[in-house]
Symmetry: D3
Subunit: 341 residues, 6 copies
């Protein structure tokens, strides 16, 4: 029996030059769609859950194309409000070797950023839902969207729906002060917090000692201390922190920790040869939500979430086109990449 999960945020048109071409070499763009919360919904739908994405998109064909990208993957799009003019856009150039990937956002004035409280009827949206997920990007879109997010959190809490939030700090959307103020209010309603070390520091000033995120090294104690501080502050049921060690634009190590009930569970670490790392964090969030909804124990939950996001790095685009059995196979130990026939 599928669980109903609601995610809320922006779905953008992603325009990417082919292969490793730089923007300055582009004369065509791969056109896909993505956005942190939509990515989570697609993943959960691929796992067989009943994922419903809530947003606002224009009535015209580009808006419809965005909706169709979700419908195709089985996401419930009936709660997407239609209207307004702009589909947000982001341009994405893939890095290689020492050259980093580059993202140029063109999402200001999008129809969701300009949405109003009256656009969403949360009572109806949450009917039958078990989980509500959003990220720090959503309230950063605009003051009115921040308010809508707060309203959604309150309504979800009323209804006993579990709430998860990926901090996902984006410095181009808001400054740290604004982020801290808004996220502090929202996190009061959150059960599970997802973050990377930078997020915790950027949003709440919480730091892991002795870790330099740019150095590509990590220490476990530091992460535990961050999770503990977050838990202490917001009384989270769980805090999950992803641990990326970036060796080059092509090669990253990837692992994560789940901290819950005072215990820390560290996953295996994967050395990944990257196809596309955008959406890596979102696929982790989706894996975690799936694990928790399906009663996996803590170690299995973090292994599932990390294996899921490890696989995401091998897939083009924002969406994580993997099945539960593929994730379980990797989490279970087969990372040899042998041909399946």
């Amino acid at each position: 029996m599928a669980n109903k999960i609601i995610t809320f945020g922006e779905l953008m048109l992603r325009l990417a030059p082919e292969n490793y071409l730089r923007f300055l070499q582009a004369n065509k763009f791969q056109a896909t769609f993505g956005g942190a919360e939509a990515n989570v919904a697609v993943s959960l739908s691929c796992y067989g859950e009943d994922a419903c994405f809530v947003s606002k998109l224009p009535n015209h064909e580009i808006g419809q194309l965005a909706v169709n990208s979700l419908r195709q993957m089985g996401v419930d799009t009936t709660k997407i409000v239609r209207g307004g003019d702009r589909v947000g856009v982001y341009y994405c150039e893939k890095g290689a070797s020492q050259r980093p990937s580059k993202v140029i956002y063109d999402r200001a004035y999008s129809t969701i950023a300009m949405a109003q409280k009256s656009d969403f009827d949360w009572d109806s949206i949450f009917e039958g839902a078990k989980w509500f997920h959003f990220t720090g990007i959503t309230p950063a879109l605009s003051d009115s969207v921040a308010e809508i997010t707060l309203e959604a959190c309150k309504k979800a809490k009323e209804k006993g729906i579990t709430i998860s939030c990926d901090l996902n700090f984006r410095k181009k959307l808001w400054d740290r002060k604004k982020a801290e103020q808004v996220m502090t209010e929202l996190c009061k309603y959150v059960d599970y917090c997802i973050a990377n070390e930078e997020d915790a520091k950027d949003v709440f000033g919480i730091e892991a000692d002795d870790t330099d995120v740019y150095s590509g090294k990590l220490n476990k104690e530091g992460y535990i201390s961050v999770a503990k501080k977050l838990t202490d502050k917001f009384n989270f049921k769980g805090v999950a922190i992803t641990l990326r060690e970036s060796k080059s634009a092509n090669d990253n190590d990837w692992s994560a920790m789940l901290y819950t009930d005072g215990e820390a569970y560290f996953s295996k670490k994967y050395s990944i040869h990257i196809v596309d790392r955008v959406g890596g964090g979102d696929s982790f969030g989706a894996g975690l939500i799936y694990s928790l909804l399906n009663g996996f124990d803590n170690q299995k939950a973090i292994e599932f979430a990390v294996a899921a996001s490890c696989l995401k790095h091998s897939i083009e685009g924002d969406y994580n086109y993997v099945s539960v059995s593929e994730v379980l196979n990797l989490a279970g130990g087969d990372a040899s990449g042998r041909v399946q026939r």
Copy 2:
């Protein structure tokens, strides 16, 4: 010796599905650039003139890509102000047979629409220039751009620079009332007015009798009367009206009239099998400006402009990649399309 021509307006990223795919079928977009006044500049540069395009574009790579699309064709881009965030976008779906082409604009809040008077130093821009061209789209972008356009017109007039304007009414940018008010003020400075019958009616309420633009028929007297009324109102040196008879999305008849000194000069009419008709009017404008700058007689001028724009319909994208000799060859009568080797 090349003539220096200044054009002023917006350059947008044009995103078009491949071939005849509809938006709803697109998973990649051809990425080119276009905009009425930039298109004119490219044409003139292809004819060997010294065309300089004035606008504002962001400093980031997408802005640079726009600039490079003009540099590639030899347009002087040194007067393009750099700054702001958004490159305007338009989505363009190619029609076929009874299915019309469709354009979705996403140009609001572009950096040029939000430009200020202080961004442009017209004294410097007009140095050495002989001609200034803009279209009705430019002042429609925003009030401040309308003001900038007016300032440019005044400055050009002071310096004895010839001014041409293509009325180019866009109902999604402004309403008729606003258009009439702004364009009436600007047209006082204009020497040569370019229009189609719809424009004259939409902007100034001036109509040709007995012509239904949707019927695909035309009457010469009607066009002459429109040109005469426009001339009477604004004391134009010349009025050029393009005459499109749309038989289907693939097939159009195309001709034009130049009205000057009380005489009307009608061009040949071409039956065109369309590759891409966007930019057809702009290529006409460029052909006309070239003709007038190079002292063609009136009949040759209108034939050149129409042949140039006839060729544009056979070319993908907004820009008209044709040379003077190619236009002269067609205007001179060789429309057989025989292979040149």
Copy 3:
């Protein structure tokens, strides 16, 4: 309020060389999906109806890709049975000028062709449905599918659901004798019959006098007589016959007739410059079903169906990506193909 329509048949992978390349020149194939009844479902979903496609498809990724192609367009795929091994394939080479298009079927042994009665629970499928549509291709797939179709017809009739059938004779799937025998049984349950002149002759030996389908000419009396004979034989509520005059692979004239209550309603005739004519008949069927479900009068119904299928000819692939307003616009007389912006 959307109407629920059930269609039943095969969905195939369509492999087509790019543009006008011949099979012998292909090194990649456009991969889309199509099948007569699925095409109808997609059209109806694009019109806002609640279209549900019933079939059987394998559980593997190619089967899922087929399902997703429908989900993307909003078709209800929850009644598609999953299992078996093969997705049927058809190779499609686009003709041009005097060179005809070519289709090579590789659909034998597909999982739907090998489906069993027990795969489908028609009581559940028809719940809430108003209309059931199939074509002559479905029962031609195999004896067991013919039986399933008969069962579906009986069940639909019991429940008072309107049934339409497009005769769609395919000589490579069965011979005329077998077709006549099976279709005669099925047509007893059918309310609306859709055909072209060839179909009526091929399946039932019913001919229009004085018409040579290869000559590209037609006579109205002949078509009326075919419709009348069909109606007399099966007591149809209505018979719709499409009238294609093939001038070349690029250019066809297209019109149709609806015969009902003893009256014949002929549509306008469109001269079409073809982008892709596969699915033309299916888009007609969908247009007709939509018209009849929404209470259009007979003349408007046939005009809507023909305009819808006229537009299909301008669209790549099997599916007809058009909206009700686009069809109404064309049916209402605007065939000029002028750019919409």
Copy 4:
């Protein structure tokens, strides 16, 4: 039983922008191969004949790619001498509507142009052959190739092999005077001469009265007189003249005449919507050779050759990928372009 036919000439790499893009818009080129005599060999191989193409190509991979393009189609490439440095290149831009196609040759200094007599052992090459074909392009490549061609003609004549020559005048390769001198010598050995009206005039100064090749009109008497004059001059067994009426880059009328034994046989005329007209004449030559080798009567021969070349116009690239049955089907009257399934 297949007939062995030898053709001799240059095979070039053809670099063409995609679709209707102009050279100035190209950032990739379709890479195929073509050349008048190779095109004839491919056609004949597609008809089941044993076609052997003789030339010289470099040993490196680009040379091999050229060889493979012929092997793929079953052409015997064992007589192609390998060595030298350059594969000749031609750049090909497809015209549309009033814009003509454009060909830029880069074939000077190719390895075949620099070939020596000693490269070819005609005794061995002609073993078992029934027909030898070349065009006026081959001797125009260089003086030494002209000599080689003459040697081949003499040897073929000795062996009783039928010789055909397509005049194919290329003004960029040689001037008229040189052409006349060389071709006059070669034509003494030729049995069947293929030409268009321009060729006869350009090479031998033989003109049809009252026909302006640029006007797109033709008169039958004129063509007969040209054929008669050619026959009188060289004692040809037959002269075939293709008749192209170019209405635009997209639309041509196409027909031909075979003059033999004092009688003229005119084919049907086809109105063609062009996909690619390069190689049109070569496909005609191949059709004619096939017809004559297989004992078709004169009217059937010219109908076959014209239908074959009509179909070529619907196919991308130089090669004519059609079968005997496809040609016979069109020659037999089915030009409706109806889908074949």
Copy 5:
């Protein structure tokens, strides 16, 4: 002087999404051809041998396209029987990092699987041949193909032709019991056996001790023992075993052993960054056959075969487009990948 080699098996259409796209993201497929024995034939033809591939393929264009893919590379296709309906298909998704490649077969009911003994005249096929090669896939296609293979082996043995067989166990084609029974009978005729450790175990239950194929480790003694057991059982002249250590979908170590006359020859081991590993084993087989036919000593033979297959991993598609000199260059020690100009 080229050696004539006969290979017998199935040639399939390979449909692969572009780059690293998953099946669920595909809207076009790269269309190439491949099959174990055809791949061997192509390799041998690239080495200058006279390779002849025997199979059955339909007469239609998709069958012809398959034939042409071999002709292009110089393979003798004159012994391919034409008839039947289906070209077998396999869908191939390329893996990356921890995500394995995936193959979905759609080869049941292909025309070769349904071929009959009477389709092949082995006396004629083997005329002048020195070597016959097949793999365990061929007899697994169907009982009748197993019989045909047996007949071919008997006939080859009679004629003194050397026979090689790659065990190539495919669990989706048959079960182990059936495989053991059929292969045991066939291997009686085989001179050289090619396998990987899994094959020997899967088909004959022969295992190397202490080696876990999924662990990516290997021990030399184990492989020798497998080879010895195989030799003892079937009296092979030689047994070659490929040794793949799969570290990820991108990175594999690759080496092999040749066991003959009681001695084991181990090759160098290559660390490969994979472009496409399908066909890796086939390219090894071809390299080995070439080595043995050309009298290489045992160490050189295994080095050549491994270097050849190492290069295959850097090439897209099933076919190994490399020359003898390229293989020798790598086998000789230059693995630096420096640009050759």
Copy 6:
């Protein structure tokens, strides 16, 4: 204030199969442009300098496309002489793993190779210039180009312009003896010499002891001794030597040394995962020229040049599309490749 730099050489059309396809698999070519000195000009223009490329290119569209590729990047093309017939071509196949990249040149008889002294007016070209750069490829094109290069060097020296030369030995263009003779004469005028170890040996017979360029190892002392010998011979102000350690076609280590005033400055070493290594040396040269023109100290200069060329290896095509800030960022230590948003 931008510095004016003149570079002189050939600009070729680069034809490359897509991705990792071999030449033998190609049916389209990526068409870009490149050439050692043009690549340097593009890099310098991307750094904001006023780079002017001098060459000769045909007047036709392929010549114009070459010019446009430079204009697009802001290079001054007004000194390119137009005329002649051929644009030089080079075919480029990308290697992978143990398979090396392959380049096939087709540049003989290009219009620049056939240029005459009278084509270039060096007085005018050098007006306002600060730097002149050429490579050993330029004088190798032909004797007349060698003379032109010498004339340019003399004129530059007269005007006090700094001269740099990259030895760039190409064995297919000339032999060592000829190279030594010509380069010895030219190097008398050169201030900064750029080379790799092979160049010094190939051109002047100067060797570093104990280094095998094919082994992928290097010793610092050896490089210093080469630089010292070069300096001693020609009295260079500086010698820069790039140090490539080729591990495979995908992975290289890359570093360099600048030797000046008797001191050697070694850069960091980068382990590069290669996208395209063609143009790597040119991007190094451009980085060095920029550093020296902008007064960087010696260590910073070599670090900048190496970081610039490290980034080039991550970019498709010959041109190095990077900005000063991107190079400084990498040279400053951030090689983690983390996404920039």
